[in-house]
Amino acid sequence: MEFFRDSNIDWLSKKWLFLGFSLIFSVAGVLSMLFWNHIPVGIDFKGGTQVRVSFPQQPNEEHLRTAMDRAGIHDASIQRLNGANGYEAVITLPETSDSNSDSARATVVKALNSNYTDSTNKVEDAYTVGPTAGKQLTRQAGWAILWSLLGMLAYLWFRFEFIYGAAAVIAVFHDTLITIGAFSLTNQEITLTVIAAILTLVGYSMNDTIVVFDRIRENLQLMRRATLSEVVNKSINQTLSRTLLTSGLTFLTVLALYLFGGEVLHGFSFALVIGILIGTYSSIAVAAPMLVAYTDWRSSKGKSSGLQAGRKATA
């Protein structure tokens, strides 16, 4: 069984289409981050208290709100959802000060217990993050992403050429931007696990890009008379079968995670579902064309237009 045997698609001729597509999604995401939902971060990053409670019956939101009001909690957000253990409500309190964070959780639990005397509701998950911890985590996550990108850039520079590394990192940045944009557009919370997912997608997208780049490097040796565009097109086509197969199968596992992984992993798997689609797309539509655009730009400036195949391959 085989798909896409000897495909012969002129990918580079579609660059304006790709550019438009990328622009629409990244601009939409950025606009949403700036003006609409902003970046909806979870309490991991901004601090606060979140209590997840399960009920035997669908809880009445008004009743819950009154219960919270009576306990002196006026700024809680209450979200109902269908959890695996029946009906659930997630009560979120913003962080006010260090000393408050300690008691907020207890207050919520007490308010629930005094208003639901049958005590059939159960606290499934109670989570309190102080503002210092939140700030620290935000900083740490930022550094983690920055350092991994630099690490990958360094490795690609060493193995290929700087421009390959730069193109791959820009493609990955593009993917991250669009994925975070998707979170902003759909107003889903970015938690620590979502950050882990975004880093996963960075690795995945990089993986896809390297496979194509490796082929380009190899073909530059084999097709010495061809133009760079021809080499890039051929390389994408040669790896197309693999790209779609791998992405399809990874998508399958991630989809299983999204469908069966439960509420706790929802944000994580959502990021991966989007990330795999966009990461696959970007290795074909963003990273490889960027190599061509770079050499075109160089030759327009009258410099040598040849793209080096990389130190390791020529040796």
């Binding site: 985590l137 996550a141 690795g203 399958l252 596992t253 995670l257």
Partner: protein, 523 residues
Amino acid sequence: MQKNLNGKIAVIIAILVVFLYGIFGIPHGGLKESITRRIHLGLDLRGGTHIVLQVKTAEAVAASSDNDMVRAQDAASKVAPGAHATKPEPSQPVIVVSGVPVNNMSAVKDALSATEFSAYDLASTADGYKMTMKLAEVKDLRERTLETSIETIRSRVDSLGVAEPVIQKYGLGEDQILVELPGIDNADHVRDVIQSTARLEIHEVTGGPFTTEQDAQMQLQPDSVLVQGGNALGDQSWWSLKRIAVVQGPDFRDARASQDEAGRPDVSFTLTTGAGDRFYAYTSTNIGKQMAIVLDNKVREVANINGAIRDQGQISGGGFTKQTAGDLSLMLRTGSLPASIVFLETHTVGPSLGATSIRQGVIASVVGMMAVMIFMLIYYKGAGINADLALILNLVILLGFMGFTGSTLTLPGIAGVILTIGMGVDSNVLIFERIREEIRAGKNASASVFGGFEHAWQTILDTHVTTIVSALILFFVGTGPVRGFAVTLMFGLLANLFTAVFVSRVIFDSILQRKTRGEALSI
């Protein structure tokens, strides 16, 4: 070739056995117990409480320099009457000794540069000296404070009977502690016990009680400090207490919950031998005077000294319940915390949510993996078996790694496993597609397999190294869930390099060997 191949197969089987041992150990009990004994499940999977707390280590530094200030005062005034030691900034470990007459300067300098003040750098000022705690000393003191805090919290948690608690340094900061309490889903009591500083001191009373703070300030005795009342005495009372305690923290040897004559709960304590002697000397010469029992900077009880006491005492004074008396005696037994504590993060996962998460994570992994394996069989026919065997072995090695290293499997970790499956499939696909290309180019089966692996190897190495680089960075920069994810990803990728490249190759070779020349490969 034959011998070499048999050797390789033996290596693979040996590795399979070793890592199966990593997962199951020597099996006894059910399958599930065997696995969970080897592979630790994170609290997000089995339920429990996860606490990250911060020790205010600067407090311990300030307290230490408070003591040194008193000692510096003593040392300086001995050689230069009128010399006075102060701390201009109470939170900074900087002591200023002033009011030293010019002709006594060198004597004071000798006194302050004695070995007992070796932790300080000395600089002269107009009428005395400025002592600044050395940076190395501050760092050392902070580290010791963190260590002591960990020990204290550990003994408190142990006495509460929490099974398998984790108490360790956390994160990149030098002042954070991670406390994990499996199975505890009502953590409020534990948190109270952890948080209490429990610094117990007995001071001589020099004045009071005063009903307003202003009154108390005005009548504050020299060498005394102002301390507010707590519990039964109420916070509308202030006492003037001698600054230096008669007995303090380390002098208490034992404490237990007991009852007074009326049957009300109280706490009895016993002093160490040395402190008992000192206390005897003090109480026998101060009969009729008052002393205050101070807990965490609050006056808990004021008592008249009716006779000489050696090493036994009680803290009563009402307000105790059986629970609070028990808690206080526990805290006194386990020692006081050297500094106060702030909770940065508390996460309590109910056991049912944990169980549900495991079930969902496992179902998702199994469904995903089955789908991939079936697809590989359909798409690559015979070679699909290679891929499937490599995937299963990959999973065995990954879990075995975790068993050997004692890593903890968390929910994001399960996600890392799923991603590893994806990368494993990718390696197989890369190799198989290359083999197909070689076959299309007209090469025979054996040359195609050789060429396929040869070409794909570079790419596989590049993709794996890149991802391992980022997983390593995540492991070192990240904490908590990010780390759990990085661990499984890293182990998974290492295992994958072995299974997808080496194991799959050996399977191909052994298939090729059984084929007659020119027979086509099933791929």
